[in-house]
Amino acid sequence: MFGFTALGVLLAMALVLVRGLAGPTVYDRILAVNAFGTLTVLLIAVHGFLSGRPDFLDIALVYTLINFIALIAVTKFAKFAHLGGPFEQRSWSDV
């Protein structure tokens, strides 16, 4: 059962990757990257049960967290062209 789930997740990862590489807009890519991150979280969780050691779900937690922060960073960069400052519209051409 878990094996099938893993297979499904891997397949989804491949599809999402294709979308990410193909683009064409930056938002496609952001979405793809984010979905990919979510899928890895799923994969870790599934593997935890497959191998009989679900106590490593901590790692999945880290993935989620990192994915969230990276997503904010990427979207902020894409919209405002910087990370640290206040929110202003980016001054150079859109991606």
């Binding site: 930056v26 991150g37 990276a70 960069f77 990370l83 640290g84 202003e88 991606v95």
Partner: protein
């Protein structure tokens, strides 16, 4: 099966990276590459490494990459040749040499391979009795090969100081005054470049539209910090430890800085404090070693720290992990603040 699929995904990502020209996409796909590698390592049983790679490779590296793209203000690489013949030849020769070298290797997962029969068995069999720590990776990292880890902490300290040297006095956003910022009026114009404290960044009128993100982010920060402490304390029992905890701790501040601007985050963790803690962690680690010498053991011998050698080991491991955590957290925060704290508009 999962191994091969993940490896294939990594190959596809890497090939994509050769081909991609948009640097933002390069940074994002590098993150995907790291995440996939980390997943592969979970499958291969290297959970501590996966933990680290996920937080460093996919998190810190992505954020740093974005910050430097913002500062270099370059979206696309100039198209250089995808096929670069001399490079291709060098790479093919190197690859062929490596494949030649693999021919005499023990097979994948072979339990009788020399690396599983020579040094490693002692760690697996005796480390719990000798150090009292069930996570073998932690006990080897912190005690048996503790000197490597001291070196590793020094490397991250070097990076922190190095980034300070390189970018430390670049064009900063004006320093925030947290009290003024808290009461900042709506619709205020963004800070003029170079004018110290003229206007308050991070609180322009557009903030209202980011309310969901800001409230949500603020709610998340305490659990993230708590999770960092958990990772720090739980490192002996499960995956985790000082390094991972440091990165997660720093990521809470990074999140805060992303939502409210670096000047606000700097007000919480001022540069002078970070510089102190950056140094403090290394000193704690090296100092524990010196304490071992003074108490009559060898350098980094924790057994002499308490009456019972195993207790001494546990104490020593906790202390040095604390040192690692402090230095890593300060280094990551310093590096991020220095990168993201530069105002990209002030150059040219």
């Amino acid at each position: 099966m999962i191994n091969i699929s993940l490896l294939m995904i990594m190959v596809a990502t890497a090939l994509g990276l050769v081909w991609l020209r948009n640097l933002l996409a390069v940074v994002m796909f590098s993150g995907i590459f790291s995440l996939t590698a980390a997943s592969l390592w979970v499958v291969l049983g290297a959970v501590d490494v996966a933990f680290t790679e996920a937080s460093v490779g996919a998190g810190i590296a992505t954020v740093l990459g974005l910050a430097s793209l913002a500062l270099t203000r370059t979206e696309h690489e100039k198209r250089t040749r995808v096929f670069h013949l001399p490079a291709l030849i060098v790479v093919l020769v190197t690859g062929a040499a490596l494949i030649y070298g693999t021919l005499d290797m023990p097979g994948w997962g072979d339990p009788d391979a020399p690396i599983h029969t020579h040094v490693a068995p002692r760690y697996i069999e005796d480390s719990l009795a000798e150090t009292g720590v069930p996570n073998i990776v932690t006990s080897v990292l912190a005690s048996y090969r503790g000197f490597d880890t001291l070196g590793e902490t020094t490397v991250i300290f070097t990076a922190g100081v190095g980034v300070l040297v390189l970018l430390g006095r670049g064009r900063r956003y004006p320093v925030a005054n947290p009290r003024v910022a808290a009461g900042g009026g709506p619709g205020r114009a963004p800070a003029a470049p170079g004018s110290e404290g003229a206007a308050v960044p991070g609180d322009s009128g557009e903030m209202r539209f980011k309310a969901i993100l800001r409230v949500g982010g603020k709610l998340l920060i305490p659990p993230i910090l708590l999770f960092a402490f958990y990772t720090q304390a739980h490192g002996e029992l499960g995956p985790g430890g000082g390094f991972q905890a440091g990165v997660i701790f720093a990521s809470a501040f990074i999140l805060y800085a992303l939502l409210f601007g670096v000047p606000m985050a700097r007000a919480v963790a001022p540069a002078s404090v970070l510089r102190g803690t950056l140094a403090l962690g290394v000193l704690i680690y090296a100092g524990v070693g010196i304490a071992g010498v003074l108490l009559g053991g060898n350098y980094l011998d924790y057994s002499v720290l308490a009456h019972d050698p195993v207790h001494g080991q546990e104490l020593g491991i906790i202390l040095i992990e604390l040192g690692v955590g402090i230095t890593v957290a300060s280094a990551m925060m310093t590096v991020f603040f220095v990168f993201a704290g530069q105002d990209p508009q002030q150059v040219d």
